[in-house]
C-alpha cells in the first residue's frame, strides 16, 4: 500500500474507528434485535480454548456489549452484541495457568480480520484465480452434498481426502468418522513434523505422543535445539515451569542449550553450547558414555532403551567425549562436566526438538535422548519427562498421526490414485511444503476441492467451494491437550460470541451433510450437532473421583463444565512409564545434508517464528508488528548471517541476500546477527505468503520453498537438512524495533 493511501485511509477510517469504538456510529443500516441481553460497559469473562497450536491452552475471553455490522439471513445490519475484547489464560486451567503466549493474544484478530471470508463462496473464475462469489448456505450445502453423496454410496477407498491441521476432541472424531464414511481418510498436516518425536516415544515408551516436561521440579535442563519457551510442544506450560525452575527457594535450576543458532529459548540458557546440526544424538550418547563410564548412574538404569542403542552395553566407546567433541567442535571437558553436573544434580531432564529432530538422523537422536533421560532416571519421574493421561490412554495412536500418516502419504496417495474430492481444513501444505514436492500440482489434479477455512491462502485458493468455519470464539471448542500437563484434561467451551459473519461451525456442517446422506454416514455420526457430540463425550467424566467439577445431575455437570471451561482430574503423580518393546537396534548415523559443502557452504536453518509459528499467523497485524525476540524485526523476513561471514562476503546489514539451494532461491534482507554460526544462515518461517490476506500477501520470503526433499528415518520432512549458498543481490529494507544488538556498544568508538 502506498504511503499516501495509508494516510488517506488513516484519516478517514481512524475517525470512523473512533466512532465505532464508542458504540454510537452514525449509520444508515437497519438495527437488528439483540440476540443476547448484555449490560453495556460490564465485562463478562467466558471460557474458551486456544487452537492456534496443539497445546490447547484453556483461555478466557472478555466479552462486552458493542455495535457490530453483521449479516443475518443475507441482510446487512447493525446489532448490539457481545463482542470479544481480549483473550487471557484461564487461571484454573492446568496447561495455561492463566497465562498466554503472544500468539494466543492475537487469536482475537482471527475473528475480526478484515479479510476473513464472510460467507459461503463458489469459484467463478477458473480455479486458483481467487475469484469467488458469495452464495447462500443452502446452495453451498447442496453443492457439497452433490459432490460427496456419491462417494458415500460408492464406498471407494481413497475417493475422499480430508486434509486438516492437527485436531483434537470431538472435532477430530467427527472429521475421522466423516472421512471414513465417505471412503477416505483424514490426513493431519503440520510443518514441524512431530511424528519424529512421537515415533521415538512410541518405540521407547509405547506412546506415540509429545512428552510433558516437568520443568518446575527439575534442577538440570539440557535441551537439544528445542525452542520450548517459544514455539515447541506446549510453550506456555513449559514457560510457567521454567519460571518455577529458575527461582525455587534455595535451589536454582541450571539450563543448558545445545544448538546452532541462538534461539529465543537458547538466549535464556545458563550455558549455551554451539553444536552443528545433526550432532545432537552423538552428544547425547557422549553424555551417556561419561555417565556410564564414570558410574554416575547404574548401568542398567536405561534398561531396554539403552540396550536398544548400538554399543550401549559396551559403554558407547565410539562416543567418547574426545571423538564427539572433535566432530562437534566443542571441548570434551565441557561434555564431561555437563554429564557429571546433570547426573549429580537431579532431577535432570533432557529435551530434543525442532531442528535437532528435523535431521536425517532425527529419530535416532530422539531415541538417544530418551535413553539418556532413562539413564538419568528422569523418565516418568517428577522433574523429568512424563506423558499426560490423554497421551497414555491414546497409546499407539494418542495423537493418531501414526494411524493417519503424514503429507508424505498424501503425495503417494495422489500419485497412485487421484481422489474424487479433497476437503481442506486449516492445513496449508502448498505454502508449508518444499516446492520440490510439487504438492500444488498434485492437489490441482483433484476434480473437486472444498475448503472450510476462514481465509484464502495458497492451498484454499484452489478450492471450488468455500464453506467458512466460525472462528474459535464463535463456535464450540473441545478436546484434550496431549502434552503440558500430567492431568486428564477435557476442554469444553461454548461460543464466546455470536458469529459476526455468515459462517458455520465446520463439525456442524459435516454432521448436516452426513444426515442428508443418510446410511452409514448418518450412523457413523449419530449426533444432531457438534454441541451434542461434545456433551456426549463428556458424560463419562462425571463419575470420576476428584475431578475439577462435582455435580449432582448430568445437566448440572454439563452446565458447570461449560462455566469452568472444561473438566480436569486431580493432581496426580505422573503415570509410571513402561518401556516399549523395540526389537531393532538403533545406530546414530551422521546426518546427511542436501547440497555439496563446497558449492553450498552454509547449513540452512529455517526456524519457527515466535510470532507466525508455522506461517499460519502471518495474517494477523499484531503478529506482523510485534518485534521478533532476537532480531527485533517487524513486517518482514530476513536472513541471519554471522558478522565474520558477512565481512568475508562484503555483506552489510539490510543488504538484499539471495539464498540458493539446489531446489530454489529466496531473497531477503541480511540480518548481521552474532547468534548464528559462521557456517550457517537462518531464516524465520512464516513470511513469504503468496495469498494470505492484505497483511501477509507478498511480504517477505518463504524458506520452506527451497528446502530439499530430505526425510527422517520415519519419512517425515527433515526441514533442517538443506545446504545453501548466499550472495548479495542488492539493497533491502529491515524494519527493526531495536537499535543496537549489544549493550557494550555504548563504549565502543564507531568503526
Amino acid at each position: 500500500m502506498q504511503r499516501r493511501d495509508f494516510l488517506k485511509i488513516s484519516a478517514a477510517s481512524g475517525a470512523v474507528a473512533a466512532l465505532e469504538g464508542c458504540g454510537n456510529p452514525d449509520h444508515k443500516l437497519i438495527q437488528f434485535i439483540p440476540e443476547e441481553d448484555l449490560i453495556p460497559g460490564i465485562a463478562t469473562w467466558k471460557p474458551s480454548v486456544c487452537t492456534l497450536c496443539q497445546s490447547a491452552c484453556g483461555t478466557q475471553v472478555r466479552v462486552m456489549q458493542g455495535d457490530a455490522e453483521v449479516v443475518r439471513n443475507g441482510q446487512l445490519g447493525l446489532i448490539k452484541m457481545g463482542l470479544a475484547k481480549k483473550i487471557e489464560g484461564n487461571p484454573a486451567h492446568p496447561v495455561s495457568h492463566g497465562k498466554l503466549c503472544p500468539r494466543g493474544h492475537a487469536a482475537l484478530q482471527v475473528t475480526y480480520h478484515p479479510d476473513r471470508i464472510k460467507g459461503p463462496m463458489a469459484v467463478t473464475g477458473q480455479r486458483g484465480s481467487g475469484e469467488y462469489q458469495l452464495i447462500s448456505w443452502d446452495e453451498a450445502l447442496k453443492r457439497l452434498q452433490a459432490q460427496l453423496g456419491p462417494l458415500a454410496t460408492a464406498k471407494q477407498k481413497g475417493a475422499l481426502l480430508f486434509l486438516t491441521a492437527p485436531l483434537i476432541g470431538q472435532r477430530r472424531t467427527i472429521v475421522e468418522g466423516f472421512a471414513q464414511a465417505f471412503g477416505g481418510s483424514p490426513v493431519e498436516f503440520e510443518l514441524f513434523d512431530r511424528s519424529v518425536l512421537e515415533e521415538a516415544n512410541l518405540q521407547s515408551f509405547g506412546i506415540a505422543a509429545m512428552p510433558t516436561i516437568d520443568l518446575s521440579h527439575s534442577n538440570y535442563v539440557i535441551s537439544f535445539g528445542a525452542d520450548f519457551l517459544g514455539t515447541w510442544n506446549s510453550p506456555v506450560a513449559q514457560s510457567v515451569g521454567y519460571g518455577a525452575m529458575r527461582e525455587r527457594p534455595g535451589q536454582r535450576g541450571k539450563f543448558v542449550q545445545f544448538e546452532t543458532r541462538v534461539s529465543q529459548t537458547g538466549a535464556n540458557a545458563d550455558e549455551w553450547i554451539a553444536c552443528p546440526p545433526g550432532m545432537e544424538g552423538a552428544i547425547a550418547l557422549s553424555l551417556a558414555h561419561v555417565i556410564l563410564g564414570d558410574k554416575l548412574r547404574p548401568a542398567n538404569a536405561a534398561g531396554a532403551l539403552g540396550t536398544a542403542i548400538d554399543g550401549w552395553s559396551t559403554g558407547l566407546t565410539e562416543y567418547a567425549p574426545e571423538k564427539t567433541a572433535a566432530q562437534a567442535g566443542i571441548s570434551a571437558a565441557t561434555i564431561t562436566r555437563i554429564a557429571h553436573e546433570s547426573a549429580s544434580n537431579g532431577p535432570a531432564v533432557v529435551l530434543i526438538g525442532d531442528l535437532a529432530t528435523a535431521q536425517t538422523n532425527g529419530l535416532a537422536s530422539a531415541l538417544a535422548v530418551n535413553a539418556l533421560n532413562m539413564l538419568l532416571g528422569s523418565a516418568g519421574k517428577p522433574g523429568g519427562i512424563e506423558f499426560s493421561p490423554t497421551a497414555v490412554a491414546g497409546g499407539a495412536t494418542a495423537s493418531g498421526r501414526g494411524a493417519n500418516g503424514s503429507i508424505r502419504d498424501v503425495v503417494q496417495l495422489i500419485n497412485s490414485s487421484v481422489p474424487k474430492a479433497l476437503l481442506l481444513y486449516g492445513a496449508n501444505p502448498v505454502f508449508a511444503t518444499p516446492e520440490a514436492w510439487q504438492v500444488k500440482a498434485l492437489l490441482e489434479k483433484v476434480p473437486f476441492i472444498a475448503s472450510f477455512g476462514s481465509f484464502v491462502d495458497e492451498t484454499s485458493i484452489l478450492a471450488d467451494l468455500i464453506l467458512p468455519d466460525s472462528s474459535p470464539l464463535e463456535s464450540w471448542m473441545d478436546g484434550s491437550p496431549e502434552a503440558g500437563t500430567t492431568r486428564m484434561i477435557v476442554n469444553v467451551a461454548p461460543p464466546a460470541m455470536n458469529p459476526i459473519h455468515e459462517t458455520r461451525s465446520m463439525p456442524d456442517v459435516l454432521l448436516t451433510i452426513a444426515q442428508q446422506t443418510g446410511g452409514d454416514a448418518a450412523k457413523a455420526l449419530p449426533w444432531k450437532s457438534y454441541e451434542d457430540a461434545v456433551k456426549a463425550s463428556l458424560a463419562q467424566y462425571q463419575s470420576v473421583k476428584g475431578g475439577s467439577v462435582t455435580a449432582t445431575s448430568a445437566d448440572d455437570f454439563w452446565s458447570k463444565v461449560q462455566a469452568a471451561g472444561g473438566w480436569w482430574s486431580a493432581e496426580a503423580e505422573p503415570a509410571a512409564i513402561r518401556l516399549g518393546e523395540t526389537g531393532t537396534t538403533i545406530r546414530t548415523t551422521t546426518a546427511q545434508f542436501d547440497g555439496d559443502p563446497e558449492q553450498y557452504p552454509f547449513y540452512f536453518l529455517p526456524f519457527p517464528s515466535q510470532m507466525f509459528y508455522d506461517g499460519s499467523l502471518a495474517n494477523l497485524p499484531w503478529m506482523q508488528e510485534a518485534p521478533d525476540p532476537m532480531s527485533s524485526a517487524m513486517w518482514g523476513s530476513w536472513v541471519e548471517v554471522n558478522p565474520a561471514t558477512a565481512q568475508k562476503l562484503g555483506i552489510a546489514q539490510a543488504d538484499l541476500i539471495e539464498v540458493a539451494s539446489q531446489h530454489g532461491t529466496v531473497r531477503a534482507p541480511a540480518m548481521i546477527s552474532p547468534g548464528i554460526a559462521p557456517n550457517a544462515v537462518a531464516m524465520p518461517i512464516g513470511q513469504g505468503h503468496e495469498h494470505y490476506t492484505r497483511y501477509a500477501s507478498g511480504r517477505g520470503a518463504n524458506p520452506i520453498a527451497i528446502l530439499a526433499p530430505m526425510s527422517t528415518e520415519n519419512g517425515a520432512l527433515a526441514w533442517g537438512a538443506t545446504r545453501v549458498k548466499i550472495s548479495k543481490v542488492g539493497v533491502g529494507r529491515l524494519a527493526l524495533f531495536g537499535g543496537s544488538f549489544r549493550e557494550d556498544e555504548i563504549d565502543r568508538e564507531p568503526r
Partner: protein, 238 residues
C-alpha cells in the same frame, strides 16, 4: 498512606517471549502502524523486550530485558511539559492526559528510557478490527504522546470494586495486562508503600537494581538481575 504503584521484573525468569508486548496492544488499543512507518521507527510498543548479545560466536550469550515506562518518582518527562499533559498522579504514576497534549514531544526527548510513543498520524484500524477496542481505554488521535499507564484502567476498576465492597484492595488481586500474561511470572505488580506486598518484598531483594538510576529519575520499576547457577542469591528468593 497513599499508594505507590510499582513493578519488579525478574530478569532471571523473563524468557523474552514478548507475550507482554502483544497483551499490551490488545489491552490498550495500540494501533499497528504498518511496514513503512515501522521502518521509520514509528512502531508503538509501550512495553518492549530489549535483547543484548554478549561475546562472539561460539562463546555467545544473549539476554532479555523488558522495558516499559518506569513511572519515575522524579520523572524528567513531567516538568518539561508546557501544558501539564504529562503529570504525576496521587498514586505515583506518570499520568498522560491525551487531550491536553499539544505534541511538543519534549517529554519524549527528556525520557531517559525512550518509552514514550507519538501519534504521527491518526491511528487506523481496518474494519472490523475496530470491534476489538477495549472500551475502557481512549483512542489517541494524531499529534498526541502516549505511553504505558500501568493499565490505569484496571487499577481504577479494581479500586472502585474494592470501594463498592467496602474492603481494602488485596495485593495481587489485579495486574496490568503484561504482568497478567507473563508465563514465567517474571513481572510482579503492586503497591510499594505496602511493605507486606510481594512487589515491595522483591524490591528489597539483593538482586534488585534500577535502570539508569544515574539520571536521578527515581524509577519505580525494579529489576532483579540474572542469578547464576548455585548463585548465593538464590536462597532469599522465597
Amino acid at each position: 498512606m497513599a499508594r505507590q504503584w510499582g513493578m519488579v521484573i525478574d530478569l532471571d525468569r523473563c524468557t523474552g517471549c514478548e507475550a507482554c508486548v502483544v497483551a499490551c496492544h490488545a489491552e490498550n488499543n495500540i494501533d499497528t502502524v504498518g511496514e513503512d512507518q515501522a521502518a521509520r521507527g514509528r512502531a508503538k510498543h509501550w512495553i518492549r523486550v530489549e535483547r543484548y548479545y554478549e561475546g562472539e560466536y561460539p562463546d555467545i550469550k544473549a539476554k532479555f530485558m523488558p522495558v516499559l515506562c518506569q513511572q519515575c518518582a522524579a520523572a524528567p518527562c513531567e516538568p518539561v511539559c508546557p501544558t501539564f499533559a504529562s503529570y504525576h498522579t496521587a498514586e505515583g504514576l506518570n499520568g498522560q492526559i491525551y487531550n491536553r497534549c499539544i505534541g511538543t514531544r519534549y517529554c519524549a526527548n527528556a525520557c531517559p528510557y525512550t518509552v514514550r510513543f507519538f501519534n504521527w498520524f491518526n491511528p487506523v484500524w481496518d474494519e472490523p478490527l475496530n470491534l476489538q477496542f477495549n472500551p475502557d481505554v481512549s483512542i489517541r488521535s494524531v499529534g498526541m504522546m502516549e505511553k504505558c499507564t500501568f493499565c490505569v484502567q484496571r487499577i481504577k476498576a479494581a479500586e472502585i470494586q474494592a470501594e463498592a465492597e467496602k474492603r481494602p484492595l488485596k495485593d495481587g488481586e489485579f495486574a496490568p495486562a503484561c504482568v497478567q500474561t507473563c508465563a514465567p511470572k517474571a513481572m510482579v505488580f503492586g503497591d510499594l508503600n505496602d511493605p507486606t506486598s510481594e512487589v515491595a518484598r522483591l524490591a528489597r531483594s539483593n538482586r534488585a537494581t534500577k535502570l539508569l538510576e544515574e539520571t536521578g529519575a527515581r524509577p519505580q520499576v525494579t529489576y532483579l538481575k540474572r542469578g547464576s547457577w548455585n548463585g548465593a542469591e538464590n536462597a532469599e528468593n522465597a
